[in-house]
């Protein structure tokens, strides 16, 4: 399945300044793996050393939250995946 990942500005320097990146995969985990192969520096920004999605990230598909099972969320053709850095506490 092909999808677009809309990158948060936090990641700009790690993805060559691209705001939208085309990826393919059957779920978000696969799409992010494709992204990380294309831009290796992004992997540490997305995942901790245990391979878990970093807690301050939120992933939305077509405007809907995928929390709490973000990486397993299925993707279909044309989906828009949006990664958001979410420092919402105060």
């Amino acid at each position: 399945m092909s999808a677009k990942i809309v990158m948060h500005p936090f990641f700009a320097e790690h993805v060559g300044g691209n705001q939208v990146i085309d990826v393919a995969g059957s779920d978000i985990g696969e799409c992010l793996a494709v992204l990380a192969r294309q831009y290796p520096a992004i992997e540490k920004k997305l995942f901790d050393k245990h391979g878990q999605l970093r807690g301050y990230l939120e992933i939305y598909v077509n405007g809907k939250s995928t929390f709490p099972h973000e990486l397993a969320h299925p993707i279909i053709d044309g989906d828009e995946i949006r990664i958001i850095v979410f420092g919402a506490g105060g």
């Binding site: 936090f10 939305y60 105060g90």
Partner: protein, 258 residues
């Protein structure tokens, strides 16, 4: 980041006590007595008196901002005390704004304090913003941030956003009709997870940066963090800035440019 001239506010005379109390900042060349007078004239609203709001209010009060309106509807809980440094064990059960006002008055009795136990709502916000020069976003709720952002954009009041998660923090200064607004940056669907992990040192750092922005903005010197988000990731001790873009389709500020 861009240079900005100070707000044209009438100045008030400094007392001899002011000159002594604020002497170490008055001698800063771009600030001086005029900068101190501008702070003394200013009325700042601190939205949220928790992890961010506590240090923000402390440094605003100590810097000599003339009037602080403190807004929070919550009472102090034991689980707040790792980060909300205006409150102590003896304050548990007390409304945060009253606990905070008591400590702030001890730090600087010359600052006028207006503690308000209210929830920020779209209906009530315009009245709360009357006479306010600057809003400090020290909230812990995205939903309330969207309300505050929209109110500030409509009223043309600058808004300094701060947010934290664990050891990650973010800050940007939003100037209505000049910079991207909060809703340009975050889609309204953002819900978030609760409770969020927070170390007290993270909001302390971000709030200090918010107050730096506030002092520059009110006194009219330096460069502001506008159109840019600063991220501080203490877990790997990394400071990153990212440019922010105005969303021309933004429901709140889209197409509304200077």
């Amino acid at each position: 980041m861009k240079e900005r001239r100070g707000k044209d506010i009438s100045t008030v005379p400094l007392t001899e006590e002011d000159r002594v109390r604020y002497g170490r900042q008055i001698i800063f060349p771009s600030f001086g007595e005029e900068g101190q007078q501008k702070l003394k004239q200013a009325h700042v609203l601190v939205a949220g008196i928790g992890g961010l709001g506590s240090p923000a209010a402390i440094y605003l009060a100590c810097a000599g901002v003339g009037k602080l309106t403190l807004i929070d509807s919550d009472a102090v809980e034991l689980s707040n005390l790792n980060r909300q440094i205006l409150h102590g064990e003896e304050d548990i059960g007390e409304k945060k704004v009253f606990s905070a006002a008591q400590k702030l008055n001890k730090l600087n009795s010359t600052v006028e304090l207006e503690p308000l136990v209210v929830r920020i709502t779209a209906e009530g916000l315009p009245g709360l913003l009357h006479g306010i020069d600057l809003v400090m976003d020290c909230l812990d709720s995205m939903e309330t941030r969207f309300i505050l952002n929209e109110g500030c954009v409509k009223a043309g009041i600058p808004f300094i956003h701060g947010g934290v998660y664990g050891m990650l923090g973010e800050i940007t200064t939003i100037i209505p009709r000049e910079t991207p607004c909060f809703e340009c940056i975050f889609p309204r669907e953002v819900e978030g997870k609760t409770p969020l992990p927070i170390f007290g040192c993270t909001p302390a750092l971000i709030a200090s940066l918010q107050v730096m922005e506030a002092i520059k903005l009110l006194a009219g010197f330096g460069e502001l963090l506008t159109g840019t988000m600063l991220y501080v990731n203490g877990e790997v001790m990394e400071f990153t800035t990212a440019p922010l873009q105005k969303n021309e389709g933004c429901r709140v500020c889209g197409g509304d440019t200077a």
